[in-house]
């Protein structure tokens, strides 16, 4: 999953175009409930079931995409 794919997921969940690869989910209006949408979207796209803790330690599209890559490898 490329960082661009993850940016697209963040944009959809946060309902804003102002997301880059380094946008922090929790500093851009994201909360734990919206986090479940990110996790569900990643599971659908990639078959990787991340947890909310993954999002807490990797809160940007770039970091979260890295995490998906390391889990699916």
């Amino acid at each position: 999953m490329s960082p661009d794919d993850m940016v697209a997921i963040f944009r959809r969940v946060l309902e804003t175009d102002g997301v880059t690869a380094d946008t922090d989910f929790f500093e851009s209006g994201g909360d734990s409930l919206m986090g479940t949408r990110v996790l569900s979207a990643v599971a659908r796209a990639q078959g990787v079931e991340l947890t909310f803790d993954d999002l807490l330690v990797a809160p940007t599209p770039a970091l979260l995409a890295d995490r998906v890559a390391s889990v699916s490898r």
């Binding site: 209006g29 909360d31 919206m34 479940t36």
Partner: protein, 515 residues
Amino acid sequence: MVGIVPAFLEMARTFPEKCAIECDGRESTYAELAHRVRATARELGTAPGPVGVLTDRSEATVVALLGILAAGGVYVPVDPSFPAARRQALLEAAGCTRVLGPSGLVPVPTTAPDTAADGAHRASPAPEAGDPEAPAYTLFTSGSTGRPKPVLTPKRAIAASVASLRDLFALTPADRVLQFASLNWDTCLEEILPALTTGATLVFHEEAYTGSIPRLLRAVAATRVTLLDLPTAFWHELVRHLAESDEQLPDCVRTVVIGGEAVSPARLAEWRTRDTGRVRLVNTYGCTETTLITHAVDLHGPGAPGPGAWWGEHGGVPVGRPLPHVTDAIGPDGELLVSGPALALGYRDLPEVTAERFVTRQGPDGPVRWFRTGDRVARRPDGHLVHEGRLDAEIKVRGIRVDPGEIEAHLTAHPEVGVAVVVGTRVEDRTTVTAYVVPQRADADDAALARQVLRDLRASVPGHLVPHRVTVVPGLVHTAGGKIDRLGTHRRHSPAAAPSAPAEHRGGLTEQDNR
């Protein structure tokens, strides 16, 4: 009315070998659980007063709850993930001198020397073991001053409510109830107590608490859970997930209980398309001060009327009729009033706030005590209540009641913040909390300040008190009378709140159920 502990011990005699709690695959029988509950009660001694419990997702928290009740004490759950200062403040406000945690029973460390001495004799007077008016637990609701208000719930309230809930959920010993709710809010008692006083099994599963809906659904299927009790805000996300992933709810689930805020008609319509006709979807309403659930209605499933019976265009999805132990009334301003055995004793050590919310009025058979919920409701011709809004500024954040004043108090305590207001806006099925802050210093960098305030708040207060957005503004809007105008500030400064947006008046603001 049979108390909670006698009802549980009766189940332990009837089904000693039956599984009471399954925790990540490990099973404890009713006999084993009763043994541990008695041991905890012995360790605490007679009438131990308020006892703090550092909760975790395990059998230990249930043992602590029932053990404290069995000893005649007052259960005070505290989230160990809260910042230390807040944990300490909660324990002191509840009058706890001892706290049960992973390292056993330890004294509460005291911040001020005189609080310690005071705490001991201020602890609730030792109640008679069987006195139904004795307090059973203390939970907290949001307070406008920044300090949460401790709600004292007596034994008779929890006994009356749990008896009604066993019937409402139609629980049997064959049921398996997932423990999902945070252990620090009263919803978890809806899961734990009806199950363990019926002979049913309470299920803990670590995958249920990961924030991942796919993992939750797998855990539910693997542990054959029959009853799920979910915050409405989370249920909205579950329905989205099922619809977008084209999945169904696991077959083992027969009842889904929801509550906490207004049900989205769009999510309800999607739910109906997910092959859920065999599943009871029960909408519920209640306040901490009126103990768990006071009103309920089957929205969908075997006991519900057909499509369109009551959801949709006309006034929103109902919160239902009063349960058998509840009497309700609607005040002249549309406020829902609740009376009956489920009323709390009041807010601990806050007589003025208690007198304001718990009022006594003359009834035909003598004085009646009512709780003023602060919720505006209307009663439909069929007797079901529809929630129409709040009489005050209270908002719901992911199902948790929040007084905006509590967040504002935390914001203004920040050294870089002068003044602040907090506004909740509801868009579709979600509430967004926005803070408008005026910097302390005129030369502040707005973007950097907003980021810093958000970060500092995340580090110092629980998640439900952290706004989604912090917007730095030059000044707040005041009313003609000179008071700070939350809505006016929001209207002036929110980019989304264009002057033409009429939803801004009432519909756009958070106006939800009070659970």
